[in-house]
């Protein structure tokens, strides 16, 4: 009888040698005449254990990690194919505390099933949401999404159902469903993990969206930095077509939904929805002035849904298990679960899907285990390059859209970047301005020019040139960018700068710390 061994095909796992490990297991099995079937799954999201090799046993999946190709012969020696003891043995995967405490709803299948196998997807509740949706009136699908309380997971947190309703209500023959997979925020990788670990969920979510609003064409706008996601998505889409889940007649319903992946070309701004639409049309990714909203006049001038990967991938379970199931997770106006990503200088980096309401402290210390450098955490940046820097005194804040915005921070796409006490916050503030200057689309002046002036000001402040005066100017510049920019890039770049000024002033004043 053959033993099933799982070795991730997730880009993060591959970046640590998963391909070599898979090859070594296959070679060693042949040499020992052992019957091994290798499944290339997604990542479980415990990156400090990657490459994480799992073996299917009658008691459940046994985890070994982090495995290097050179560990493979000794794994066979210790009988890992039947869950044998080994220095890298982590016990049952789902009993690892980091994993056991999670609430995997959107990521229920990630790391478990074969990402591109339709049969495996169906065996793990796949396409049940779509089947349910096909029995419903489009307006009821929209209603279910609205009632679930799902808000846009890309960062803006706009209620997904309301967006869908607007597109649904437009009386035009041509509409589009677009997925924003331009996950450019540093510290985030949830979209990537999902696209590489369970792309069929995204495909299912987009198909449901198409049926709900009457759109027959979907586009996934994927960043070019994700070549592994590109391959996995295209493989999964081809398999979904083959199995009749995409195309002219979705599951014999008479409804058409076509889907293709389009590649970006290394522009952070294209994560802004109107800029993404310009890019999808083959133009420079310059933002559009709103109104009109994309839901009314979007791609090629037609009503268009623009949703993030995680928003769309949360839709199948909402349809399958009902709006209340999803809404029952979370707190206040933040309903459901959020895949939180721990990154930067962190001991146990990875993805933690939990209901809203968990505290940052629990994430940083109980899950993350503090810094990898062993030094104290001095600052964290939540929500990507446009998110505020937070000091330790704010770590008891809950992961909740309102709680974070209440203290002038933002949750964004749920990424947390950890810095130890060697960080120079003036440099980080300078970087925020520099990044804005590099990535500005150039359409509005506060962003295009303000970001460059901002870097220069911080340079002068760091050199001690007219410090007080320049600090004052920097604060005024931040206010101008905040009030006067057309979109979130220029309008939010001040957040990391202002928060660094507020909480880590000493770094700008040439005072020595400690």
């Amino acid at each position: 009888m053959s033993t099933t061994v799982y070795v991730p095909r997730d880009a993060g796992a591959l970046s640590l040698g998963a391909e070599e490990v898979a090859r070594a297991i296959s070679t060693e099995a042949r040499k020992r005449r052992q019957d091994v079937r290798i499944v290339r799954n997604g990542s479980r999201g415990m990156y400090w254990l990657e490459p994480l090799v799992e073996v299917a046993t009658p008691n459940g999946r046994q985890a070994y990690g982090p495995v290097h190709a050179s560990d493979v012969p000794s794994l066979f020696e210790s009988g890992f194919l039947s869950g044998g003891k080994h220095a890298l043995h982590q016990g049952l995967t789902e009993a690892i505390p980091y994993f056991a405490g999670q609430q995997r709803v959107t990521f229920a299948r990630v790391g478990i099933s074969d990402p591109v196998s339709v049969a495996d997807y169906e065996a793990h509740d796949g396409f049940k949401g779509l089947r349910q949706a096909l029995t419903m009136a489009p307006a009821d699908i929209v209603k279910a999404v609205t009632e679930s309380g799902l808000r846009g997971r890309g960062g803006a947190a706009f209620p997904t159902g309301i967006k869908w309703q607007t597109v649904h209500d437009q009386k035009t023959p041509r509409k589009y469903v677009t997925c924003n997979a331009d996950e450019g925020d540093s510290g985030t990788f949830a979209d990537r993990m999902l696209m590489e670990g369970d792309p069929l969920t995204l495909i299912e979510g987009m198909t449901i969206a198409g049926i709900a609003v009457g759109a027959a064409q979907g586009y996934i706008y994927l960043r070019v930095e994700y070549p592994h996601s590109y391959r996995t998505l295209n493989e999964a889409i081809a398999n979904a077509y083959q199995a009749g889940y995409l195309g002219d007649d979705v599951l014999g319903s008479g409804k058409r939904f076509d889907l293709e992946v389009r590649l970006g070309a290394g522009a952070y701004i294209c994560g802004e929805e109107t800029s993404m639409l310009e890019s999808l049309e083959g133009k420079r990714g310059e933002i559009r002035v709103r109104p009109p909203l994309p839901a009314i006049k979007g791609l090629f001038g037609q009503p268009t849904i623009v949703n993030n990967v995680i928003s769309l991938a949360s839709v199948p379970v909402i349809l399958q298990r009902g709006a209340a199931f999803y809404r029952d997770f979370g707190v206040g106006k933040s309903r459901g679960t959020l895949p939180i990503q721990l990154a930067g200088n962190i001991k146990r980096g990875g993805l933690i899907e939990r209901a809203f309401g968990i505290s940052l402290r629990e994430l940083l210390y109980d899950y993350g285990g503090g810094t990898i450098s062993g030094r104290p955490i001095r600052a964290i940046q939540v929500g990507g390059p446009l998110g505020a820097y937070m000091p330790a005194s704010q770590f008891d804040t809950a992961v909740d859209y309102e709680a974070l915005s209440g203290i002038g921070a933002l949750l964004g796409h749920g990424g947390i970047v950890v810095f130890d006490d060697t960080v120079d916050m003036a440099r980080m503030a300078r970087y925020a301005m520099e990044f804005c200057a590099i990535e500005s689309c150039g359409k509005c002046t506060p962003c295009r020019v303000g970001s460059t002036r901002g870097t220069e000001l911080i340079d002068r402040i760091m050199k001690g040139v007219d410090r007080e005066q320049n600090l004052h100017l920097l604060e005024e510049l931040c206010e101008t960018m905040l009030q006067g920019s057309l979109c979130g890039l220029g309008g939010m770049t001040p957040f990391p700068v202002q928060s660094a000024l507020k909480h880590f002033r000493e770094d700008f004043e040439g005072r020595t710390r400690h």
């Binding site: 420079r284 721990l342 200088n345």
Partner: protein
């Protein structure tokens, strides 16, 4: 980042092989909605860069102005108007990698390859570009060589990876 004003490749007309490659890409994509980015990706994949002499050809075929095509090529960091080295090394400069020693890795990469960011080694073996997030932030610092992603890259590991690249 200043670019040399006019490099020889910018003046060079397309070779017959290059012209054929551009034509094939256009044939494959012209009937798709909003095809320009797809076309540019196709050309860069086929030729390694987007020769300036291809711009008028693309513009005419897609019924766009040269300015529009040039504008798109230059807007996106990924598209390049000059050939790259045989191995494109992208080093992440974003916050997560900075928090894990990314700045030092960027400096090491420059020293090891003897070039600055946005440059190509004299032997044409390596190009070094900055990148702003590779989505490998739980394994920072990260680099990408060609389409191969690498995580937790120390200076030593960087040297090993570079040495493993074909000459």
């Amino acid at each position: 980042m200043s670019q040399p004003s006019i490099s020889p490749s910018e003046r060079a007309p397309l070779t017959p092989a290059q012209r054929d490659a551009v034509q094939r890409v256009l044939d494959a994509h012209r009937s798709r909605p909003g095809p320009l980015l797809e076309v540019l990706h196709g050309v860069q994949t086929a030729l390694g860069f987007i020769p300036p002499a291809a711009v008028p050809l693309i513009a005419e075929d897609l019924n766009l102005s040269r300015a529009e095509v040039h504008g798109v090529v230059t807007f996106y960091h990924y598209f390049r108007g000059q050939p790259a080295g045989r191995h494109m090394v992208r080093v992440c400069r974003a916050e997560s990698c900075q928090a894990a020693g990314g700045d030092a890795l960027v400096e090491h990469a420059k020293r090891r390859l003897g070039i600055d960011l946005h440059q190509t080694t004299a032997d044409g073996r390596f190009s070094l570009d900055p990148v702003y997030c590779l989505g490998n932030c739980a394994c920072s610092p990260a680099i990408m060589i060609g389409e191969e992603l690498h995580g937790r890259v120390s200076a030593e590991r960087f040297d090993t990876l570079i040495a493993e690249c074909e000459p």
